[in-house]
């Protein structure tokens, strides 16, 4: 016991940052413009193979929300070579697992499989890059599946619907305000032509990024990639038609009540620079700021709102900066006991005002840096998480040298940088504040 306390005190005084073991990463570009990154991990004889397309829900034409995600579902229906419904079955019969996901800026497909099956999955993925075969009879059933997915994720749950309303309010003009899965009313009328139009415009080698992580040799990966992907012709990519976001001049407020809300909560968000749009180190500074505010129970928000004042059950902040066009900085909290949402909002406002007036300390910043660097080391344990991290970064436009220099940029952030970024982003008239409340049911009101 005693020994422990003194060791720890000594460790604290030094505040050393941990040794950093760099992951082994290499890259190449095929003649047709397809980028590739190889992340070596020789611990197990398996591989994660991913193809990322630079197209997401933010690229959908008006009136067609959800088409990027719906297309992702339809990509499993088969190709000229793969019989309907057989894609995932072939992967499974080879001991592999596969799936896909769609986001605002990208759509990605992946398989996890024994390393000697890499050529097989590359062949299948390359095949469906240009040769998908969507039959009319799959269209309706799969659209119903997507609507059930929307029910599960969003419509059955007032928290999910509230989040959707908040995002729609946060963005005045940009498609980041649209839910990735789409608005239900528009999903219901999506058809085969909509999907194929998206597919033909965006699914091409010069709009794709290949990520291979695992027990592989980069030269072998390159040879396989040339064989399977290198033969695909590039296409003329459409010019990006994304909307711009006008200045935010008026604070917006939302209130939503639902009898199924179990735990009321408050949400407060601001648009922020992203790792892509920011030219300096604001993104790194905002990421450190979010750790200073809520990276654990000793940080400002949990400490003040849950422990010191006992106003909240939980409270936190996050910075979401991995996005092509802009990021988001947000706060959230759930009131405890008799605390009202306006009281909680008052406490949050006070904390933000205090932050802007009195700043953060050197010690807070040092802790946040150390925790960010340790997280990067722990993240290396997961092959698929590493693959995702690199895939997302490259797809939105962050280059490998920027990933490599991330630690230097992080270490260079000063207290002044953090405060400059905070002042830049936490501007009241640019904020959206949402209350999610429990509606009294009729029985409750009568009684």
């Amino acid at each position: 016991m005693k020994r422990l306390a003194s060791t720890l005190l000594a460790a604290f005084a030094v505040m050393t940052t941990p040794a950093f073991a760099e992951p082994v990463v290499s890259d190449f570009t095929l003649d047709n413009g397809m980028r590739a990154v190889v992340i070596e991990d020789h611990r197990a004889p398996v591989v994660t193979h991913m193809v990322w397309y630079r197209v997401g829900s933010a690229d959908e034409p008006p009136g067609k929300t959800g088409i990027a995600h719906y297309l992702e579902h339809l990509m499993f229906k088969g190709t000229d070579k793969i019989a309907p419904g057989q894609f995932s079955k072939i992967i499974a019969a080879n001991g592999g697992q596969d799936n896909a996901f769609t986001s605002r800026d990208y759509t990605a497909y992946f398989q996890r499989i024994a390393k000697d099956r890499l050529g097989l999955v590359m062949g299948m993925e390359a095949d469906r890059m240009r040769n998908v075969n969507i039959r009319q009879e799959d269209i309706v059933a799969e659209r119903d599946v997507v609507i059930e997915e929307r029910n599960s994720r969003t419509d059955n749950n007032p928290g999910g619907r509230f989040r959707e309303q908040y995002m729609a309010a946060l963005y005045l003009n940009h498609a980041y305000g649209i839910p990735v899965i789409g608005w239900r009313e528009e999903i219901e009328s999506l058809d085969r032509d909509d999907a194929l139009e998206m597919y033909e415009r965006f699914y091409a080698p010069n709009n794709a990024i290949l990520i291979v992580a695992g027990d592989v040799n980069p030269d072998e990966v390159k040879a396989l990639a040339e064989e399977h992907y290198g033969v695909i012709e590039p296409v003329d990519l459409p010019e990006s038609v994304r909307a711009t976001e006008p200045p935010h001049l008026a604070a917006r407020r939302l209130e939503m009540s639902d009898p199924r809300v179990a735990q009321p909560r408050i949400w407060r968000g601001y648009i922020a620079p992203s790792y892509v749009t920011d030219e300096g180190n604001k993104a790194e500074a905002l990421s450190l700021l979010s750790d200073i505010l809520s990276g654990g129970t000793t940080r400002r928000l949990p400490k003040m709102l849950t422990l010191d004042t006992d106003l909240a059950l939980y409270a936190g902040a996050y910075y979401s900066g991995m996005a092509r066009d802009m990021g988001e900085f947000a706060f959230y909290a759930a009131p405890k006991g008799d605390t009202t949402l306006p009281e909680l909002e008052g406490a949050l406002d006070w904390m933000i005002a205090d932050l802007l007036e009195n700043g953060v300390t050197e010690e807070e910043l040092a802790r946040a840096k150390k925790s960010a660097i340790a997280s990067e080391i722990f993240a290396q344990d997961s092959q698929s998480a590493m693959a995702r991290q690199y895939g997302a970064a490259l797809t939105i436009g962050i280059e490998l040298d920027e990933i490599k220099s991330w630690r230097d940029r992080l270490e260079a952030v000063t207290v002044d940088d953090v405060m400059a970024a905070a002042r830049d982003v936490l501007v009241p008239e640019r904020s959206v504040t949402g209350y999610l409340m429990k509606a009294e049911s009729k029985e409750g009101a009568d009684g």
Partner: protein
Amino acid sequence: MRTLALALAASLAIFPAIAQEDSSRIKEVTSPGGIVAWFVEEPSIPIVTVQVEFDGGARLDEKGKEGAVNLASGLIEEGAGDMDNQEFAAKLDDLSSSIGFSAGRDGFSISVSSLSENIDETMDLLHVALTETLFTDEAIERVREQVLSNLRSQENDAQAQASRHWYAEVFGDSSYAVPVTGTTESVKALTRDDLLEAWGRMVAKARMKIGVVGDIDAETLAALLDETFGDLPEGEALDLTPVSVRETGGLVVIEEDVPQSAVVLGHRGILRDDPDYIPAYVMNYVLGGGGLTSRLTDEVREKNGLAYSVYSYLYPLDRAGLYMGGVATANARVAKSLELIQQEWARMATGGLTQEELEAAKTYLTGSFALRFDSNAKITSFLVGAQSANLPIDYIDTRNGLVEAVTLEDIKRVAERLLKPDDLFVVVVGKPEGMESADSLMEGIDG
């Protein structure tokens, strides 16, 4: 299109060449004081992960004090020795380490991750947390409020509601009938003495299973095991007498105003040490275990677009085996989905598998086994799970052989023995159309 599938099938013959994580890397380390851990040395990333499982968990809760084990487990990070919860959290933070915990139906589990350079101090903190937990009134109330908030959320979550009712009806009097979290009523009534008593039952050397993976050597680990766990109370072995499981089918409809109904269904299954467990596991992979490739997914999702997610699984608890399934689907389509599920249950019970399905299941299950060992965290969790299930240390070498040995006759025998479509007990939460509670599923759908 058939040709590709056939070519792939032909290539499967060479498949078992895949090099698994082999048992020679798994060491059983016994400390001078007699503490046993299963261990894999993995120096490639400078981290160590430790998982400790105390068999028992929420089933050690006494009648009327349900939720005591869960609440007590939440106190592990709320202060210990001379540290309050802020000091404890700050010390973990200084070390960049984390200690997570969770209470389950049959076990209380602790996960530690640490940079290898800090593993001594981290385990020192775990030792203090296990042996000198504070149980201050303030911490108890804080964790109690969090648990009550979770319970409130679950009361409004259709899936959680369906699950709660299913277990209550199927287990009647045993402790498995109540969720791990307890009920709002039982949690409110828990006293500090109840929690101390629960803690005394939960933490026992006789029921401790330890797995360690990472950048540490066996000798250092052995010493750490004694320092961390040496002075824990010995405790008693668990009562493994089987508890009774509802034997009759039925349908319970609980009305909730949601667009999508949540369905939990199931009946008796088998225990993990049953000789039929592996054949049953292979059979279930085809019925509803294999994600996008299962019969349930084919019928309910792919052909009819009725749901995003439909599945079945074996759930071997320590004192009862269950065979479970579930689906979430729009209120208008619940009856149809359930008819299809029951139909598939019956088709498997009477017909078993085709040779082709059995082969595909085997190649998936043997080939994908390696995917369970591609991160330190996953290997750690396997090491603990295998010990809790009383599997031999070389199971990793023998397991694929057990799967390969399963025959069509085994599947037929096991399917007849286990799958009882008329005994399915089904709970639906939502507003399913054309359904009402009844003594059997079919009766409830027709009525």
